[in-house]
Each structure stands twice: as structure tokens, then as C-alpha cells.
């Protein structure tokens, strides 16, 4: 063999190996998650911008963890336009000279403990349909984007920069080429970023920028330092000088600014300092004077950094912050917005005042977007932005099951996974207040555990929601209890009557929190240096339990043994007990050996259902500036660990979940995406499935009865990916086949559990229910670009019941059969649409054949259709009766249609010779007689949808449709009606036959 060819052979052999089907999200595109939202409590909004040229009809909304949403109707409806990118948005800007150009700065800059992280700047040149990443990738947080109103290519970006680490990637950046290249034009040091930027609209070479020194650790926050300051440039950012005249003594914290568009020399600044307050300038920022310091001005400057002025009235000042307040005297005095209307949600971060119609204002809060049409006095809530920020999700075993979860600044909630008419905002019910985290239903079906920040936990009772505080208390022998901001409340996976909560100690209750037993020593590192939260905040004290540290963060009871409990802390400890808490083993040193960060938060622990020695753990270390996705696995009960990595992972890890049926199927949720593996972690793929590709996935559950994947996101609410069994079943031997038909589970003969339920189309967020029956599923290795797929359903006698069009997708295909036969054909000639043509009798119980036709190949399988035993209103005998009566009606209906067709045909024949028809009165009379019969048979007069007309066909059609839809025994009148309308039809048929016979007898040539 020519040695020269050897490398090629190896190369192509490698290709052949690679040719093995690669598992990716492309195989599951048919599986689309349902977004339950909700829109009723929405989530934190970080930026709002509108298009001036269309007078504010087009609006973009940036969110803390839900991407960017666009409305082209002034906020009446919204569409998500940023689903493929980082979901944390800090700033938006529209080039008002060409409003198709939109910039997004990712990475929110409201620097609370739970703030997410961005990955740079994005630009769209087509109004948000397509985006391009344009740099500043490492800034992590962007607070403001400003475009020179006279030069669209000149863009300024204020980047506070990383929150959790020192960095040079912060400061004020400038582009002079529309975002192609960037220069840092104002930089203080690695601790200080740029918080705000103003550009003088009349003299855009004049800029005012505020710098901000700030830092978080997992256990403290500081806002303020000598790096913070106010700077002015009069040469487009080439040179800067610090402004001090009239400002309080340094150090400063965060400075928020605005100017009056109608008088740009008039400026306003909220300066955080030892004497925080509102300062005003009337000389373009050269000098300042103290104006006022009401509560809403000075409240939490690090979090409320927005102030705005009316575009036309320089005295009208708006302060969206802890509350919404407005001033009519240039910021000297403020009035809070009225509660007459929607009480606007506390904690606001974004405002857009329509420059053309300044009475119209949009504000973004921790609870969504509000709109005012009276300059901020009263507000209405925008109910269609499903950007709620869940921390966790749980489910119950009801039918349909409910989901439960807690939301950042929006309390604790529950909603059904399905409901009559779908799941709209109104289906969500609020159980508790505050920041919500764990919301866990009790096995008794009526109790729910929920909490607010810092471990304030309660037991609520459904359906009244009355709640009792159940938080364990310190005793004399214990240190002050340390409760995490996001304190774990967990019921046992093996014994659901076990209730666990964790401070630095683990507590257990077996009577729903009425009594507690401490079952561990302090499981944290108990590092005293990390327990000085009362000093947290910097210039403005801020201790809201968000920085509580050295606490238990994760609790997991084994699915197979209630005595086995694993616990993870926020300071790197991973401990377990095998004797229900009598003794504990700390394996944090062991896990650190595999290369995970030692002090990282243990974010989730998954104890395998299939192997008691198998444990998965996610860790996250972003509070030390490390965004690595940490996932580790132990197969020997924590003695040794293996790090599981993938080049496709993005974001720090929140949750690992093992499938309930396939031990090699794992799901991983991170700050930037949902990932899955079908081979136990060797190869991973990013799940899309109508879930934002970089969604902040905080929690994942799999419902054991429905096999639904339930996903909690911190910015896009709850997603349910219905019935993932086909994913569980995708083993290598199937993946490598060109085509595979999945076994079809039994079909329960029912139209589902719900009736009409009303339309969920009142402008609020709503999602539909899962399909009422399982699909017929098959797999194609590749998309079928040429050829046809159809599915024939045959009964036990081989009769064709219905033919369904098939899909041709790569990967899993799902086709739904409505469990009915084929609807009848409707005869033409009526002036009314006939509903019978859209329905057919539901099939009877039995074994049906599924013939999947793929071009010239046929794949045959069986499906068992079974009576719905849960329906007490319909016995098997009654089902048969309903079926037979529906067929009786169908027969009459088909005959009647045939008669109408025959009449129409005869009429056409009579009119065939138009000259003869015009001259021959008998022909005309006969035609009219036929028309009279037709008019008795079906609606022929109707000229408007408002003029209903019901003749024999319409009556039979209505009756037939009723029998087709029946899931209860028919009443006697319905059965009697069949005979009545059959007789009525028979009378008209007799008349027609007589006329038809007459016509035959008198046809030309007959004597």
C-alpha cells in the first residue's frame, strides 16, 4: 500500500467514526416547550426605549433575565426578539435617525446579589429580527448606551464592569464606526466602572459621565470609594475633567443623571455619598447645588439609578425607584404616583417618556412594565410580558398537576399545568409575599411550604392560603441562625412526609413544620470573617439577608433510603449522612480534587435513582468572578469525583437532573442555557425546544407521571416540555437507524379533561394545554427533503379510519390523531358553512393499526384504544350507543348530501340549454320545484352571517356534531330527534324522486 495514502485513510476512517449520528437539539425540534409565564407578575425590567419616528408605536423592552421584547403596537402585544442570545440586558438604544438600528448591551447593571451577567454588545440593523455581537464581551455589565444624535456611528457605552471581581474591562467605551471597533475613553481603575453617561443633544461633543466604585463578595456589598466621581468632556470624550463644584464631599457611590431635553443645560444628579441627595445644575454640569433628599431619591442608590425629565417641561422630573414619584418644581418636592389604577410595583429601573406625546410614559419595575397616559399620576399594568424570575420549581401529583415556585421580588406562586382554555394569567395564584424561592407542596395535597427572603418560612393551606409561620428558632445551645437569602425547603424524595430546612444546621420535621429536630451540627465552614452582613452596603447600608453566608444551600434525601441525606452549603461544604443525621461525612476535600472550585456554592445534588453510589453535584463560583460550569460525578458515594465538562457549556451551573427512566439522560441548567446528554455526560447538547438558548435555568424537575420536563427560569418563567419519553428512548441503536417508529402508548378515548374554558386572548400572556392524547412518534435520521409521509389508521377489520399527513423532520416527529374517523364530505349548494364536515365519530375501543407510509415503504405498528374508565358519565355500553347513533345520523347526513348533489346536477342539466330554458316555462317550473326541495333540505336564503337559517341538513348536522362530541349518555330527546329529522329528510327525498322520475319519463325521446 502506498504509505502516502495512509494519512487519508486515517482521516476518512475518522470521518466514518464521526458519521455516527451526533445527538443535538436538531433531533428534538418538534418538541416545543409551553411557556407558562406568567405575565401576571412579570419580572425585573432594565431598559425601555421607543421609536420616535412612529410616535412610540414601536417599543423595545430589556429585561433582567428574559431578553428583549418588541412591541409594534405601543405595548399592546410583545414579541421576544432576543431568544438566541444572552438573556440579561443592561441597556438598549435605538438609532432614531434609522430606527431599524438597535443596540443591546447585555448584563444588567442593577447590582443586586442575584444579578446576571452579560457577554457584550449586540446590534441589529433590521429592527431586532437579526443580531450581531459587536464586542465588549468581557464587560459583564452595561448600564447605558448613548448615540450621538447627529452622527449615528458615534456610540458611547457605559460599562460598570464585573461585579464580583477586579477587571480592566470597565469604564466608558466609544465607537466611531457604528460598533465595529471600540476605544475605552474613560477609565479609573480595576474597581471602578462607568455608571452613567449623558450627551448634550444640541452640542453632542459635550458629555457628562459618572464613575462608580463597587464590589460584591458572596457575603458583602460595597458601593462607594474614591474611584466614584463625575466627569465632563467637551471634546467628544478625548479629554475629561472631574466636576466637584457644589457636590458633597467624596467618596461617592453611584451617581444617576439626566438632563432636560428642552433645556440641556438643566441637569439632575442623584449622588450617593455620606449625604446622598438630588443635585441640580443649570450650567451644563459645571456647578451643582443640593436640591432635595426625599426617601425615594436616596433609597438604595446602587439599585435605583434612574431619574428622568419630561422632554418638553424642564421642571417635570420623574424618579422611578422604590416608589414612582414625580416633581413639578424641578426636583424640589416630589409626589408619589396614585394607587388609583394599578398600584405600580416597587423597585423601578427603567423609564421611557414618549418625546412626541410626553403624557405617555412607560416604566420598568421588578414586577414588569407599567404605562401611564397622564404623566405618571396613574398607571396600568402590561400583562403580556412573561419574564418572571423563578428560583425553584416543584410539582404535585394532582390531575392535572400544579407547578409551584418562588419569584425574585414577586412572592410565591402556583398554577395548574393545564386548565380549561389553557393557562392564562388568571390561573396563577399567589401564596405568599416578599422574594419567593422554594415553594413545596406537601404530600397531603392541601399544604404548601413557602418562604420569603432569609428563611421566613410558612405552611400555607389550600385553597384559602391561610399561613402559619414554621421557621425553626435558635435555642440556647446554638449560634445565631444563619438563613440563606434562598433558604432550602425540601420534602423527602423517599419519604415525602419528611420536611427539611437548612440554616447552618439541618432541621427535620415529620409533622409539617409544627415541631423540628436539629439533625446536624453546623455544616458550613462557619468562617466568622464571612458573617459581617450588618456592615454591608458601603456608603448606604444595605443588609436585606441577600449577603447572608456560611449557610446550607442544598438538601437532598435519597430516593431509595430516607436515612441518606446530602447537604451542600454556600461556602463549599458537601456533607452527607447515612443514618438520618446522627453522623455526617464531609466530602468537600474529595470533590475539590477533581478540579472544581473549593469555596464554590453547592448549587444542586442529584442522588441517582438507579445506583445508590452514583451522585451528581453542580457547583457555582461566580461570586468569586469564576463563571466556569462545574459539574461533578461520583460513583463511589463521594469518595472520588470526576469532573464532567463540555466545550458547549455556558454559564455557571444551577441544577443537574437525572431522567426518571433513562439513567444516561441528564439535564443541566446553567445561568446561560439548558443542556442534555444521552450518554451519561460524555457528550452534551444545548436544548432549544422554544426555550431561549441562553435562558437562566435555575431548576429542573421531571414529573414522574406525565414525564414532563419542568424548567424554572430566572427571567422567562416556567417552561413545560411535555412528555419527554421519546428522548428517554433515543438510544444509540435507534439514533443510527435511518428511520424508527416509537411504540405508541395506549390511547384513552377521550377529548381530554377540559371543556371550553373561554378564550385566553384578552391581551394577557397565555399558553395552551398539552395535547389530550399521546402522539404517534417516529424518528428520521435526516430530514426527508423529497418524498411524502402519511399515516393510515385502520380498524381491526382493516377498514381505513383516517389518513393523517405526516411530518418530515430530522429527529423525532410527532403526529397527533384526534381518535376520530374521517369527517363526511359536504355537498355544495348551501349558503351556510356546515360544521358536520369538520367532525366525525370517535372510534370504539379496540386495537388499531398504524400504517406509516414513507414514500414506498410502509411501517406498521399497533395502538390500543381504550375506554376512558375515569369518565363516570359514559359506560362502555353508552359509548357504543353514542357511536351507533352518530353513525345513524352520518348515514342520513351522507344521503342528504347525495340528494342535494343530485338536485344540483339535475338543475344544471335543466339549464344546460340556456335558450330552451329561457323559453320553456315547464323547465323553469321544474327547476323551481327542485330549488324548493333543496331549500327545504338546506339553507339557501342566508345572505348574512347574522341571518341564521336552519333547514333539515343544518338540524341533522347539529345533532350529528352533538353525538360526535358526546362523552356522556345522550338524552331521550336527542335519540328521538334522529328519527324525526330522518323522516323529514325522507319526505323531501320522496318529492325529489318523484320529480326526478318525472324528468326521466319526459326526457327528450320519451313518449
Amino acid at each position: 500500500m502506498n504509505k502516502l495514502l495512509l494519512p487519508f485513510i486515517l482521516i476518512f476512517a475518522g470521518d466514518a467514526l464521526m458519521a455516527q449520528t451526533k445527538v443535538s437539539s436538531s433531533l428534538f425540534s418538534v418538541m416545543e416547550a409551553r411557556a407558562l409565564g406568567s405575565g401576571t407578575m412579570s419580572g425585573r425590567i432594565t431598559a425601555i426605549e421607543g421609536v420616535v419616528a412612529d410616535e412610540g408605536k414601536t417599543i423595545y423592552v430589556g429585561t433582567a433575565g428574559g431578553g428583549v421584547w418588541k412591541s409594534t403596537g405601543g405595548g399592546v402585544s410583545y414579541k421576544s426578539v432576543f431568544d438566541k442570545y444572552c438573556q440579561s440586558v443592561g441597556a438598549l438604544a435605538i438609532d432614531q435617525k434609522n430606527p431599524q438600528v438597535v443596540y443591546v448591551g447585555t448584563g444588567e447593571s442593577n447590582m443586586r446579589n442575584s444579578v446576571s451577567i452579560g457577554d457584550g454588545m449586540y446590534k441589529s440593523t433590521d429592527g431586532g429580527d437579526n443580531w450581531k455581537r459587536i464586542g465588549l464581551d468581557s464587560t459583564e455589565h452595561i448600564s447605558k448606551i448613548v448615540i450621538n444624535p447627529n452622527n449615528s456611528n458615534e456610540i458611547y457605552v457605559a460599562a460598570p464592569g464585573p461585579l464580583w471581581s477586579s477587571s480592566t474591562h470597565r469604564g466608558l467605551y466609544k465607537s466611531t464606526d457604528g460598533g465595529v471597533t471600540w476605544q475605552k475613553i474613560l477609565y479609573i481603575d480595576e474597581q471602578t466602572g462607568c455608571a452613567d453617561i449623558l450627551i448634550d443633544p444640541l452640542h453632542p461633543e459635550i458629555l457628562l459621565a459618572s464613575t462608580w466604585q463597587f464590589r460584591r463578595t458572596p457575603y458583602s456589598f460595597n458601593s462607594g470609594g474614591n474611584g466614584s466621581g463625575l466627569y465632563k468632556s467637551t471634546d467628544s470624550g478625548k479629554t475629561w475633567r472631574e466636576i466637584k463644584n457644589g457636590l458633597p464631599a467624596k467618596p461617592f457611590g453611584r451617581i444617576a443623571m439626566c438632563l432636560a431635553p428642552s433645556n440641556p443645560q438643566q441637569m439632575f444628579a442623584i449622588v450617593e455619598s455620606s449625604n446622598t441627595g438630588l443635585f441640580i445644575s443649570s450650567d451644563g454640569g459645571e456647578s451643582w447645588k443640593s436640591q432635595s433628599a426625599p426617601l425615594n431619591i436616596v433609597a438604595r442608590p446602587f439599585y435605583f439609578s434612574t431619574i428622568a425629565v419630561d422632554p418638553k417641561d424642564p421642571k417635570r422630573v420623574y424618579r422611578p425607584a422604590f416608589s414612582f414619584s414625580y416633581s413639578s418644581d424641578g426636583g424640589y418636592s416630589f409626589m408619589d404616583a396614585s394607587y388609583d389604577g394599578a398600584p405600580i410595583h416597587s423597585d423601578m429601573h427603567a423609564i421611557w417618556i414618549n418625546p412626541v406625546h410626553p403624557n405617555i410614559i412607560y416604566v420598568g419595575s421588578d414586577g414588569g412594565v407599567y404605562m401611564s397616559v397622564d404623566k405618571g399620576v396613574t398607571w396600568q399594568f402590561i400583562p403580556n410580558l412573561p419574564v418572571s424570575q423563578f428560583y425553584h420549581v416543584a410539582y404535585d401529583m394532582k390531575e392535572p398537576y400544579n407547578v409551584y415556585g418562588g419569584l425574585q421580588d414577586n412572592g410565591s406562586w402556583m398554577a395548574p399545568s393545564a386548565a380549561p382554555g389553557g393557562i392564562g394569567n388568571g390561573r396563577w395564584e399567589m401564596l405568599g409575599w416578599g422574594d419567593g424561592f422554594w415553594v413545596v407542596p406537601d404530600a397531603d395535597g392541601k399544604s404548601v411550604y413557602w418562604e420569603s427572603q432569609g428563611g421566613n418560612m410558612n405552611r400555607g393551606i389550600l385553597p384559602t392560603y391561610k399561613a402559619e409561620s414554621i421557621q425553626p428558632q435558635k435555642t440556647a445551645s446554638e449560634e445565631k441562625l444563619r438563613w440563606n437569602w434562598n433558604t432550602p425547603i425540601v420534602t423527602g424524595a423517599n419519604n415525602p412526609h419528611n420536611l427539611y430546612v437548612g440554616a447552618q444546621y439541618l432541621y427535620k420535621s415529620t409533622d409539617q413544620g409544627r415541631n423540628w429536630t436539629r439533625i446536624s451540627p453546623d455544616l458550613s465552614t462557619n468562617d466568622k470573617l464571612k458573617q459581617k452582613q450588618e456592615d454591608s452596603g458601603g456608603l448606604s447600608e444595605d443588609n436585606t439577608s441577600a449577603e447572608n453566608h456560611c449557610t446550607i444551600f442544598t438538601i437532598s434525601e435519597s430516593q431509595t433510603d430516607e436515612k441518606v441525606i446530602w447537604v451542600g452549603t454556600d461556602d463549599g461544604n458537601l456533607q452527607f449522612t447515612t443514618d438520618a443525621g446522627a453522623t455526617w461525612t464531609n466530602v468537600s476535600e474529595n470533590i475539590a480534587q477533581c478540579g472544581v472550585a473549593k469555596q464554590a456554592w453547592i448549587s444542586s445534588i442529584e442522588l441517582s435513582k438507579f445506583d445508590k453510589n452514583l451522585v451528581y453535584v453542580t457547583l457555582e463560583n461566580h461570586m468569586y468572578g469564576d463563571h466556569t460550569t462545574y459539574l461533578a460525578k461520583s460513583t463511589d458515594y463521594g469518595k472520588t469525583w470526576t469532573r464532567i465538562s463540555s466545550t458547549i457549556f455556558t454559564g455557571f451551573a444551577h441544577k443537574i437532573k437525572e431522567d426518571t427512566e433513562n439513567r444516561n439522560l441528564l439535564f443541566l441548567g446553567t445561568e446561560m442555557g439548558l443542556f442534555a446528554t444521552l450518554d451519561g455526560g460524555a457528550n452534551w447538547f444545548r436544548m432549544k425546544n422554544k426555550i431561549p438558548e441562553y435562558a437562566l435555568v435555575r431548576d429542573i424537575q421531571i414529573h414522574p407521571r406525565t414525564h414532563d420536563l419542568i424548567i424554572a427560569t430566572h427571567g422567562r418563567g416556567i417552561f413545560i416540555l411535555d412528555d419527554i419519553r421519546q428522548v428517554s428512548q433515543l438510544r444509540t441503536e435507534i439514533l443510527d437507524k435511518d428511520m424508527y417508529v416509537f411504540p405508541t402508548p395506549d390511547f384513552v378515548l377521550s377529548q381530554g379533561k377540559f371543556g371550553y374554558g373561554g378564550p385566553n386572548v384578552q391581551g394577557e400572556w397565555a399558553t395552551g394545554n398539552p395535547p389530550f392524547t399521546p402522539p404517534i412518534s417516529y424518528y428520521f435520521k435526516n430530514r426527508l427533503s423529497s418524498g411524502k409521509v402519511s399515516i393510515d389508521i385502520l380498524d381491526e377489520q382493516g377498514n381505513l379510519v383516517q389518513t393523517l399527513p405526516g411530518t418530515i423532520l430530522k429527529g423525532i416527529n410527532k403526529v397527533y390523531w384526534n381518535l376520530r374517523e374521517t369527517p363526511p364530505k359536504v355537498a355544495a349548494g348551501s349558503t351556510k358553512i356546515d360544521g358536520a364536515g369538520a367532525t366525525a365519530p370517535m372510534v370504539l375501543p379496540g386495537v388499531y393499526t398504524i400504517k406509516l407510509n414513507v414514500n414506498d415503504k410502509v411501517y406498521t405498528s399497533k395502538v390500543n384504544c381504550i375506554h376512558d374508565g375515569s369518565n363516570e358519565n359514559l359506560s362502555p355500553a353508552q359509548r357504543k350507543l353514542v357511536y351507533e347513533k352518530a353513525h345513524e345520523l352520518l348515514k342520513v347526513y351522507n344521503n342528504l348530501n347525495a340528494t342535494i348533489d343530485s338536485i344540483s346536477l339535475l338543475q344544471t342539466q335543466l339549464k344546460a340549454d340556456t335558450v330552451a330554458f329561457a323559453k320553456n316555462k315547464k323547465l323553469k317550473a321544474k327547476y323551481d320545484e327542485l330549488q324548493k326541495i333543496k331549500a327545504n333540505l338546506t339553507a339557501t336564503k342566508k345572505t348574512s352571517i347574522f341571518a341564521d337559517e336552519e333547514k333539515i341538513r343544518e338540524q341533522i348536522s347539529k345533532l350529528y356534531s352533538a353525538f360526535c362530541g358526546m362523552e356522556a349518555a345522550p338524552n331521550s330527546m336527542q335519540i328521538e330527534s334522529i328519527n324525526y329529522w330522518s323522516d323529514e329528510y325522507a319526505k323531501q327525498l320522496a318529492l325529489f324522486r318523484k320529480l326526478a322520475n318525472d324528468n326521466k319519463n319526459k326526457a327528450p325521446g320519451k313518449k
Binding site: 494519512p7 418538534v30 433590521d126 429580527d129 383516517q802 393523517l804 399527513p805 411530518t807 418530515i808 430530522k810
Partner: protein, 236 residues
Amino acid sequence: MKTQKLFLSILIIGIMSFSSKAQTADEIIGRHIAAIGGTENWSKIKTIKMEMAMKMQGMEVLITATQANCTAMRTDITVMGMTGYSIVTKTNGWNFMPFQGQTKPEPMTDDMVKAAQDQLCVLDKLSRYKETGDKLEDLGKDDVEGTECFKLKLTDSNGQENTFYLDAETFLITKQTVKTNLNGQVMENSIGMGNYQKLDEGVVIAMSTQTQGGEIEVKKVVINPEVDENLFKLPN
């Protein structure tokens, strides 16, 4: 040996550069035109008639589309015993949809006519973009229902945007999205295309179209049938 290594390196680099060479939008469109049968075959089509059916859980909606190339188009739709139609010409457009309650044909708005006129030619808009003068943008690759596709966008002088997703292997259109502003309403519709078949006339057409309402299957295609021009006029 040294020579062999050099030769091997050149060969490998050559293969790699060939396989990884980015294709320009024009090259992609050229491959697409070839994949659908070439402009010469398409240019021979003066009229076309297609009989189609949309199946929804056994119920069939019958659709007949008759088209005079780049001149006029009529679509007849039969739903549960009633038939309606829409007509679009170079100057006008009408709808008559009795199943939606209309009792007589109603004129389309100017914006609707302009949008519908986009579809008057039998050859797809992407293949004609040089003659229409539409702005072409190459948006890279995107995943359509699991299939890697080239994504190309056309924007016409009315601002209507057509985004085409071409299967990266076959260069056939997998999906097309049309975004238009109809009388102040921004409308966006997507259709999927599949089951491409080569007709005797040499053109390759999609025999299956996926819409939000369901799949429309082409049952019969007649190329260059005689078409009465009265078909495109409103009945008296």
C-alpha cells in the same frame, strides 16, 4: 520523504480549503436555481394550475391555484361545502370568502395587493432578486427544525421582507418568512416547504407546504394549461 510530506500538506490544505470555503450569497442562490431546475425551464412556464388539499384531522380543504406568470393569480378555496376565492392582478386584488361571512367580493387594500403581487411570478423571489432589485442580505446559517440552512433575506422597495432558509445540502427552500406592514399592522408569516419533486418540464417544486393551519399537499400540477383570462376578472 520531504517531498512526500510537502505534497501531503498541500493536498490536505487544498482539501480543507475546498471544504471550508464560505459560499457567497450569489453562489448559494446559483446552487438553489440549479436545484430547482434552472431558470431556462422556469422561463418556459407561462401559466400553471395547481390542485391542492389541506388536511386537518381528516377534513379536507380544497385549493386550486391558477397563475398567469407575473400577471395574475386566482386561488379558489372550498371549505365544508362553500367555495371562495381571491384574485390578484398587476393592478388589483379581491377576496371573496363566504365562509368568513362575506356575501360579495371585497377589494384588498393597496398594501395587501402589493404584498400578494410579490407572489405573482412562478419562479421564487430569491431566484429573481437581481431583476427585482431587492436588497439581499446574507445572514449566515440557521437551524430550521433540525436542518442546517443558509439564511438569506430580501427587502423590496415597499419594505417587505422575505427571509429564505435554504437546506445547506440540497439548496432547496426549507422555510420562508414574509414580514410586511399591511395598513399599519406588522404581519409575519412563515411557511415550510418539503417533498420536492421534479416535473416532466424539468422544474423542481415543493409538493408540500406547511402552514400554521396545517399541511397543504399538492395533488396535481399542470404546466402551461389554457387559462381563460376572465378567470382573473370579477364575476358580474
